[in-house]
Amino acid sequence: MGNNNNDNNSAVKIVKNIAFRIYRWDGANPDDAPQMKVYEVPVYKGMTVLEGLIYIKHYLDQSISYRASCRMGVCGSCGMMINGKPLLACQQQILKLETDTVELRPLANYPVVKDLVPDLTRMIVTHQAIKPFIIRRETPPEEIGGEFHQSVEELVNYLQFSYCIKCGMCMSACPTVGSLPEFHGPQPLGQALRYINDTRDEGFEDRLAVMDTAEGIFRCHFAGACSEACPKGIDPAFAIQLLKGEIVRRGIFRKKAGASAALMPLTQENPPRRENIPTPPPRTVE
């Protein structure tokens, strides 16, 4: 491949060359000032910003660093500031940006490790602190020996929030996170609601210690940028407002936290298999 990729043998048709202006800074040489380096990338229809970066890494400059894995909006690695807005590089088509230059900077509101690689520790640590799993008071989930019944409405009540891929773009869109680094931010707080809204969960009080602090949900003032930035439709701003309402209501009415899902005991040890379901292939590893 190369810039003269426009010949008849080529499978793709280059539409035009686009300049990528990329933030370069290396944590190994912290004293060097960050630079914006420009690379010419031949762009075909449908090409994503991530594919542009891969092209640069392969053909123009091997020293450039970025994070990516799934290249299909699932792993949440490739979030970066694309023309000033937090976007997933693998989900953003270059031509859809409708600009002749694409400016790439590392995700804002996180420390930069190198080039386009941010350090997401801040978000992950808080995400762990809100206990992102089903909490049961008496019996641990693995010993319950049954299934919980949930209606479709109860499912929809938390389903939307459960699609978070921890890309952290909501945190870099949030103006409060930007000016108050201690603020927990939309991702962890949104995930707190995902579990609190789940009728199987009994961990409201456990999470209160993290949510309801000076750095917690009441620092949010509903700028709503997180919900606009989220590539998965999680709507963290919505989750946080629902959480505030829930905390206030529980505080006023002294409602006890507790699960409401009914336990459906397993009726049979080995339920019969339907005839038309093929058996799985034999194991290949021991």
């Binding site: 800074w25 509101n109 420390p111 929030f161 930007g178 000016s179 998965k232 709507d235 919505f238 407002q241």
Partner: protein, 143 residues
């Protein structure tokens, strides 16, 4: 080593690519801060009373009343309180979870609570505009 990359206060104004709620956020912050600044000055000026009636007359009656610059300042203060109050009323309801709709299935193109809240925001805008019009008339003697 890692380098800090926080947007800081700049992030409040970095709103060009986001929706109207993000502007409302910035305006709410600016009006709120200006009201605090006003309050400090206000307490200070009114405090001149403790030095006796003469000081009060000199500072407030002769110095401030009828000063055209201050009249504009007063109008700006009125606007700040109006915007902060009406938008704050919206935020109070919204932050308790009202006027945001219910959780939905997230099917692309995603709908967010911001879309469902937009109408309420615009109604607040209309209320602010109407009251501001009355304020303009009153402050600058059109009515």
């Amino acid at each position: 080593m890692a380098k800090k990359n926080d947007l800081g206060i700049r992030g409040w104004f970095y709103a060009g690519r986001y929706g109207p709620q993000r502007y409302a956020y910035t305006i709410q912050r600016i009006t709120g801060l200006s009201i605090i600044v006003y309050l400090l000055i206000h307490v200070f000026v009114t405090g001149s009373k403790i030095f006796g009636g003469e000081t009060w007359n000199r500072v407030v009656i002769d110095g401030l009343v009828g000063n055209p610059v201050l009249h504009i300042g007063e109008f700006l203060l009125f606007m700040a309180v109006l915007i902060h109050g009406v938008n704050g009323f919206r935020l109070m309801l919204v932050e308790l979870g009202f006027f945001l709709g219910k959780p939905i299935r997230n099917i692309y193109p995603y709908e967010t609570c911001l879309d469902r809240n937009r109408g309420f925001l615009y109604i607040c805008g209309v209320v602010i505009a109407a009251l501001a019009a009355v304020g303009v008339g009153d402050f600058f003697k059109f009515i």
